[in-house]
């Protein structure tokens, strides 16, 4: 029994190490001197670790600006997505109004349509609205989060109707019920949803690439892609850029992974 236990654990540890090896290697190379990683066999650890690559990225490459852009866009996307989806999810679960169920069925059907299908007309639409090449343009797709509505609704269905009725009899308005009773119950799913949107908007590439033309507005992924096209040879510098781009969200995920993984399951596995 114990042999089996150790062999399974060892095998899993090996697979896990193989999985995170690229991330560890990225971190390690980012501390290497210029050109050090271009050797065979590839060095695993820097011979003389330094922060030079990071200094260069923040100094001459101005990556701080892109970091701020990413932070701003992801934070705003998260706040706005929550403002739009939480009331809607609650309404679809608990408030009876005509056409509610038909509308919700349409929304669920729309989940199979990938967002990229409408990207070109959306670009033209935003151009007409004067939002191309602006933060607002980058935020727009996150307002229309059908998945978020779906997730919030799932959780609201579990709230007992008697609780809401009691509040109504006490004279609470629907807005007060949402704020005072529903929101506190929903806290875990709000954290989950916030995490989904933040990570999603931080990691997104295609839409910001299309809608943001000025370099001043670039998010980290767009800036990194542009840099890596110009500096194909600078391994160490690009690894430092990759660390700056990926580390914030990785840390956020590790800190809140409990919420993230449960949310993933309630969203994807039905019944």
């Amino acid at each position: 029994m114990s042999l089996r236990r150790w062999s399974v654990t060892l095998l899993t540890a090996f697979v896990a190490l193989l999985t995170i090896a690229p991330l560890l290697w990225m971190l390690s190379v980012s501390f290497m001197a210029r050109g050090e990683a271009s050797a065979f066999p590839p060095p695993l650890l820097p011979s003389d670790p330094s922060l030079d690559n990071y200094r260069m990225l923040f100094g001459s490459f101005g990556i701080g600006r892109f970091l701020l852009n990413s932070l701003l866009i992801s934070t705003l996307a998260t706040v706005l997505a929550l403002l739009f989806t939480i009331p809607a999810g609650y309404a679809f679960a608990k408030l009876r109004f005509k056409g509610r169920d038909a509308t919700f069925r349409l929304l669920v059907a729309a989940l199979v349509v990938p967002g990229q299908i409408g990207m070109l007309p959306l670009f033209l639409e935003l151009k007409a609205m004067g939002l191309v090449n602006s933060y607002a343009g980058a935020l727009v797709p996150w307002l229309a989060g059908i998945f978020g509505i779906f997730l919030v609704r799932q959780y609201c269905l579990a709230i007992p109707d008697e609780m809401l009725e009691a509040a109504r009899i006490d004279g609470a308005s629907e807005a007060q019920i949402l704020r005072r009773i529903v929101l506190p119950i929903l806290t875990p799913i709000i954290v989950t949803l916030a995490l989904f949107v933040f990570l999603g908007s931080w990691n997104d590439f295609m839409w910001p690439l299309i809608i943001l033309a000025d370099q001043d507005l670039y998010t980290l992924p767009v800036a990194l892609a542009a840099m890596s096209r110009q500096h194909v040879q600078d391994n160490e510098l690009m690894m430092a850029g990759a660390v700056i781009t990926t580390l914030p969200v990785l840390i956020l995920f590790l800190a809140l992974q409990r919420f993230y993984l449960t949310g993933l399951l309630s969203g994807s596995v039905k019944g």
């Binding site: 290697w25 990225m26 307002l143 890596s228 992974q257 993933l264």
Partner: protein
């Protein structure tokens, strides 16, 4: 409840859902429908400057696409990604899930998080990392292969290796997501059933085939559908790692749409590509659902 209460409830319902509904209609439904309309026009850089230059051209965009070898190259590449990538990634995810679900495993949560980590990393950043891991001369991948006596492979420079190279990256990046879904399904497989098969002397593979797979069949379908959709949406991977090359071997449908629309500003033709892409995804999903129904999985 009183009639007045019901009216106020309905009013609140619309008030709370309409901002989200308006955003969905304005920024999702309308553009998706407009994509079809746009695909029948010759919307290009001249129409972008002055809408008066816009003309209705019927099926011309579609006809031109059918005659364009690069479009067919993109379609073929994407189908190759689907054909090879979906079985590869589904098998990899199921293997990881079974490993993490094993009753013999210690420190389970640690491994679960480690295996999931690549999924939450930034795609562009890890694509840059993998471009170096796959470097012909200095890359770790070729170094590891050399330990087994395998000659260096020009992963991103050889048209035959570029697609497998991107699949390795995509598999690494996404298997954790499917693993979590499989994990939840595996936990619903009755332990007694598996135990009984084990006592009857069934080996690991027999139990997988006759006990586990039938029990999680709907989840296998769900994961396959999600992976197919993911494969049809490959864009940043070839954009960062190969720029569609070498010899256009990694131009995907979405990459083609991006270049058509935002590099050459042929928005009408790009919209036609988008609409065909949608039909492809829809068709594959419907076929999978039909097959699943016939085999009794759902």
């Amino acid at each position: 409840m009183s009639a007045a209460g019901r009216v106020s409830e309905a009013r609140a319902g619309w008030a709370m859902s309409s901002p989200a509904l308006a955003a969905i209609i304005l920024f999702f439904v309308l553009p998706a429908i407009a994509s079809l309309a746009l695909s029948f026009t010759d919307f290009d850089i001249y129409a972008l400057a002055d809408i008066g230059n816009l003309r209705f051209v019927g099926f011309q965009n579609y006809e031109r696409l059918i005659g364009n070898p690069l479009f067919w190259k993109a379609v073929t590449n994407t189908l190759l990604f689907v054909g090879f990538g979906v079985p590869f990634i589904v098998a990899l995810s199921l293997f990881a899930a079974m490993l993490v679900n094993s009753r013999w495993l210690k420190w389970r949560p640690v491994w679960r998080v480690a295996l999931f980590a690549p999924y939450v990393t930034t795609l562009v950043a890890t694509a840059v990392v993998w471009r170096y891991l796959l470097h012909t001369r200095y890359g770790l991948v070729n170094y590891l292969l050399s330990l087994f006596g395998i000659a260096p492979i020009d992963w991103l420079g050889d048209p035959h290796a570029s697609l497998p190279a991107i699949l390795i990256f995509v598999g690494w990046k996404t298997f954790g997501y499917n693993m979590i879904i499989f994990l939840a399904a595996l936990q619903t497989v009755p332990r007694e059933l598996d135990e009984a098969a084990r006592i009857d002397g069934a080996g690991w593979f027999t139990r997988l085939r006759h006990v586990i797979l039938p029990a999680i069949a709907p989840t296998v379908l769900l994961v396959s559908v999600l992976t197919v959709a993911g494969m049809f949406q490959l864009f940043a991977e070839p954009y960062v790692m190969t720029q569609g090359g070498p010899a256009q071997s990694t131009v995907t449908i979405l990459y083609f749409m991006y270049e058509e629309g935002f590099k050459w500003w042929n928005l009408g033709s790009g919209a036609a590509v988008a609409f065909l892409l949608f039909l492809c995804i829809l068709a594959v999903t419907l076929v999978q659902l039909r097959l699943a129904k016939r085999s009794g999985a759902i």
